[in-house]
């Protein structure tokens, strides 16, 4: 696969493979970002997260983000992969790789990509907590209500 590689997947994310798709002979720097499931959020013990996506639109938005950052940092090569399904603590949910001749553009583009992804790409997560409660995370709310399974 060639850059930009954007994908919603059910499988574990292979960062080495993503880096392989963005590196070419003109690349001197690759900045990557990984989101991982951590065991606490808003002070609550998290046991796992279900990720759900509106897959075709999510891939379309991810591709739009890739195109936007490439137009802002010409020569950039981008891969964005988001995993869906049930993830455990420590699993990688999203990976972004930005490759460029120079390190500042690769790092700046990586930051921009994850920020844009978080506000625009139609993906949702349901956090499960110790004790069996769960909630759909709503970043627009200061705290989120929970439901009991």
């Amino acid at each position: 696969m060639t850059a930009p590689w954007v994908e919603i997947t059910n499988e574990p994310i292979d960062l080495n493979a993503m880096v392989g798709t963005v590196v070419d002979r003109g690349v001197g720097a690759v900045a990557t970002f990984l989101g991982t499931v951590r065991d606490v959020n808003d002070g609550r013990a998290v046991t796992g997260i279900d990720y759900e996506a509106y897959q075709p639109m999510a891939e379309r938005e991810m591709r739009a983000i890739a195109d936007e950052i490439v137009s802002r940092w010409p020569g950039l090569r981008v891969a964005i992969v988001h995993r869906v399904g049930t993830l455990q603590v420590g699993d990688v949910s999203v990976a972004i790789a930005c490759a460029h001749a120079r390190r500042a553009p690769s790092a700046d583009a990586m930051r921009e990509a994850i920020e844009l992804l978080k506000v625009r790409v139609p993906i949702w997560k349901r956090e499960h907590y110790a004790g069996g409660e769960w909630t759909w995370v709503d970043p627009t709310q200061p705290t989120t209500a929970t439901e009991t399974r």
């Binding site: 996506a53 075709p56 639109m57 992804l117 978080k118 790409v121 139609p122 993906i123 949702w124 627009t140």
Partner: protein, 80 residues
């Protein structure tokens, strides 16, 4: 003809389905669809201004919807 609307995550929980058949006459607007959805069971759980996508692009409330368009209600996103 009713418009099938895709719903996700907390909205799917609210409506108890992943596709909601919304009773509107096409052509109509995004706003018409949202208002019609409020009258359905679960629709009371929609926020004041839910985000809508038409044909996989974010759409403002005045955007027209035709037969065959893919309409989706987008809960607050939380990817990453």
């Amino acid at each position: 003809m009713p418009v099938p609307v895709l719903v996700f995550a907390s909205y799917a929980d609210a409506f108890g389905a992943r596709i909601v058949s919304v009773p509107v006459e096409t052509p109509c607007t995004v706003a018409d669809i949202v208002e019609a959805m409020r009258t359905l069971k679960g629709g009371e759980r929609l926020p004041g201004k839910p985000v809508v996508a038409v044909n996989q692009s974010y759409a403002t409330c005045d955007v027209a919807v035709q037969d065959g368009d893919e309409v989706a209600l987008i809960p607050p996103v939380a990817g990453g």
